[in-house]
Symmetry: D2
Subunit: 316 residues, 4 copies
């Protein structure tokens, strides 16, 4: 707690905090569709998954170390809006057989794709009624899932992961509330780490905000630091496979430009076919300075789902 409060002292470092208010607007449909993978594509940046990419990632496993990047799922997590995660134990039946077998299970009720450490799929976000590849949401929505752009199309992503430790580059434990990470911030942090991005990378951004997870859930879900639209567009131009962060939105939220609502969600999911990975647990990775690694995530294959709770890892 002491460290969290201490952050107020270093806000001075971030003098430009609100100076760079954006004026971003989504490109018109004919500038964003068809996607670079064609008009019928539903996999977006998952197309970067190919044998060469898998081999590239596997060669980064050098010590056999594994670091978990997913939080435990429970009803005490921070939840956005009215979302819930409820588990109801179904206790054992009377024992069965001469071997006296007994069994337990549970029923779970949750916005499965949108709680905890989570992977956002294309059905999740749109621009004025249109999703990735300009598919109309109304055309593919049913009461029980989406007929296109569902998370079942993705499967495991295994690729080079890069941690960009912006908090460390700024010399703080945690970026301040509402701080918008700029292109320069990303560049400086990468330079400090001696790394550059490659096509198909899983780009994970460490803000330190994850320290609030389970400690101050209300604050965790408000005024989160994160990348803004310019940084999102810069990362998209680097051809990342996904953007992840230790925050609920990956991007700065609310956006310093009050007229914008989560523009990086549109830049990633709708315009560039890049996935978002929210609420990651990045503290151990940052503490161990593991900046380059094999990254693996297995979204559940929920038919027609807008995302999936996940338990990703770094192997190095």
């Amino acid at each position: 707690m002491h460290r969290i409060q201490g952050i107020a002292l270093v806000v001075g470092t971030f003098a430009a905090l609100s100076a760079q208010a954006q004026s971003w607007s989504p490109p018109p449909a004919d500038k964003r569709c068809p996607s670079k993978w064609g008009a019928t594509d539903e996999r977006g940046a998952a197309n970067y998954m190919n044998p060469a990419n898998v081999l590239r990632a596997s060669k980064l496993i050098k010590t056999g170390g594994v670091i978990e990047l997913g939080h435990v799922l429970s009803s005490s997590m921070p939840f956005f809006g009215a979302r819930r995660f409820e588990i109801h134990t179904k206790r054992t039946s009377p024992t069965l057989g001469t071997n006296k077998r007994m069994g337990n299970e549970e029923v779970v009720m949750t916005e499965l794709g949108q709680v905890g450490t989570q992977f956002d799929m294309f059905a999740h976000q749109g621009i004025d009624g249109e999703l990735y590849n300009c598919i109309k949401s109304d055309d593919i929505a049913t009461r029980n899932g989406f007929t296109k752009l569902g998370i079942e199309n993705i499967g495991m992503l295994f690729t080079r992961g890069v941690l960009i430790d912006v908090a460390a580059a700024k010399g703080v434990d945690m970026l301040p509330s509402g701080y918008e990470i700029t292109v320069a911030d990303l560049q400086q942090a990468l330079e400090r780490q001696g790394l550059r991005l490659e096509r198909g990378d899983a780009v994970l951004i460490h803000s330190g905000w994850g320290k609030l997870w389970g400690v101050d859930n209300a604050r965790y879900n408000s005024n989160t630091p994160g990348i803004g639209a310019p940084a999102g567009e810069w990362l998209a131009a680097r051809e990342a496979m996904l953007f992840g962060a230790d925050t609920f939105a990956v991007e700065v939220a609310p956006n310093p430009d009050k007229s914008l609502s989560l523009p990086v969600h549109q830049i990633a999911l709708v315009i560039n076919g890049i996935f978002l990975l929210e609420n990651m647990k990045l503290d151990e990775l940052a503490a161990k300075k593991v900046y380059e690694f094999a990254f693996a995530v297995q979204p559940l294959k929920i038919k027609g789902g807008t995302g999936s709770t996940v338990a990703p890892v770094a192997m190095y």
Copy 2:
């Protein structure tokens, strides 16, 4: 469908079908507890996960090929008993911001650990009130999960995977209903494939039964072929990390010995701390004859959960 019906013709190959009825009973508590990893252990065979094991697995990624081993999750899957998987789409709000962002999500209601391709954890099964390491189910059960032995203790398992193609060794597309796979069957199939098991392997058994998935769900969930108690004990003695199969129970069910109720569940989960991976999709792996590979599975970190729906893969 033609191939499925053709199976009746080859049942003669399995003349010993019911001859080997078992008379197995679980060992007393003092023979099975404490576990080989100590009295307080909650991870069982996940203890085989260590840097050496990770490196062993990573070296099996040679071509960069990835094969998915998980089925799509939907309400039309075969379900055991009264289990369900229901997804209810929560459609977009009015658009937000000048960027006209819209969002979709869904609420899911399901026995999350016990539907679809699923990973069984120790809280799931017991012997007369006792779970792994002789922990009493009543002592750790709450209405909202288990205080010990929950799936959140596991994290990703990344290890050498071995497919034992028993169907191929028998020369059939699909083992017949209720066929009990014997130790000899496993040995012959391994010999045919030129492989031997090692400590910490993920052992996946191809029965061909998965052809029924989504085609004849009622039959899929009845009279499944699978390993019996002797084969389960033989594999446990090989120190496997997990047993998987393309069936709902991994083991033969119901057991040919009518007095027994799913004894391999007890042998694996309760006595030996080995995980079960049910309802796998193994057809592509078998068709491509990929018998040895890096196996990766990421169970969700459900606090106090008895298992997790998963989307595992083979990388080779």
Copy 3:
């Protein structure tokens, strides 16, 4: 079962079965709005509930007899579409106190307003985006209920109930599949019973179709007999408070005019502010020839709900 099969023999009675195909279309907005209770009304025919009406009903309780009109709610009911009713028992905690108290409860997952014997509220149905009183569905829909026209506005309805036994008037146990009940049918049945409708009545129509409930659920939910648009309009002109029946739709479904989708739902809920009560259990009422009675129904006060499962009764 014998009686059900016997119905085929009497279909000849219904020779005009498909002759009266309709050509109905909803009135334009300016002909249906504002409602007769004003532009801001959300209670529709529940406005007939007033002290005089309550006294009128209470005077019909002459013998003290009570007949239940609701089916038992269970997972084996007929369900329309993908609806479900799932109950998951949450078993006792360890006993508490020196008095060793123990408790059980259950979690229920269901389309609570739209399963079993159910009461339809105005948020449930519309005409091209508009609900009762021309309120736009999009204007009042949230992800967690409707801000207007929710079932919490209604409370108990206690009024004169009238059973119109059309099956008896036709001399059959059960009306045939797809039979459209006409105005003449209603008039003849009322005349036979020596009754006439009054303003504010709960009008319950006995078709005999309820014999299929729990016996042949698939048939129950298909080709149901019921009133058509002309009979619906005739009843609306009688100023009924609600229309009920022993079928899933109250009205004939599918409509003999294949171009129409459940027009009586629009006539009742959207145009006239009259409630629908579906899947009633009317066999006992019909068998006892209780045609006039005090009718009571207590819809749950679900904030923003489109309806409520109910357990109504007749008292006579």
Copy 4:
């Protein structure tokens, strides 16, 4: 709010607050079983429902006035423990037919029998493993409901209702936290109102605690005033059909005798077959001084359920 704070001033009236700590223990099985309605009875005090009782109640409807006694159900209600009430709107499909019909519905996830204004059934509570009529909970519990003592056995209760306004008799708006209502309190309040109890009454106790509902939910669910074991036994001896109150437990909770856990639940449900009706809305009834009325409640017929959310009324 002013009135709520004012209550502190009148606590002096309740000087005996903690003096009457109880030492109650449940009677042994042979003193409480079989119930007065026989060993196989599952309806308990619902057996008081008979034609004479219905007529008795109907004669109390004199003015046609109706007062609702149920709160609105929403996710912002006070919830006990981890219970929830979640409603997820399922928005309209594309319009259907030339009549452009559209429909909305919702899925609800809740402990349906144990949230909001609720009716407790016998499967809900026990004494050391035994429920009403000494039926063992383990013998009738399944994962999907109870095979006996479920709420589907009850149906509507329509009987004389009596409001005992203890708060008014004490001259306060709201009884103080943790106040145990005594037999003398009930007698004095009844005498003040000029009423006496009769067999089969629905006895509703007004404490004023309901003022906290939705205003201070945390306080509402803690240290609630209510009847203690002696008052519960006195009411049971009067042969009430049900006990209701404007509190979450009907009884004082926690009990002043710290060794006891909700003894009135056992006195009512387990020993005497009397129902409990919790979280009632009694303010209007008290304000209008309607002390005797026809009481009607329609618990949902949930197969094997431990209770039901309800929307009861008083008619007078």
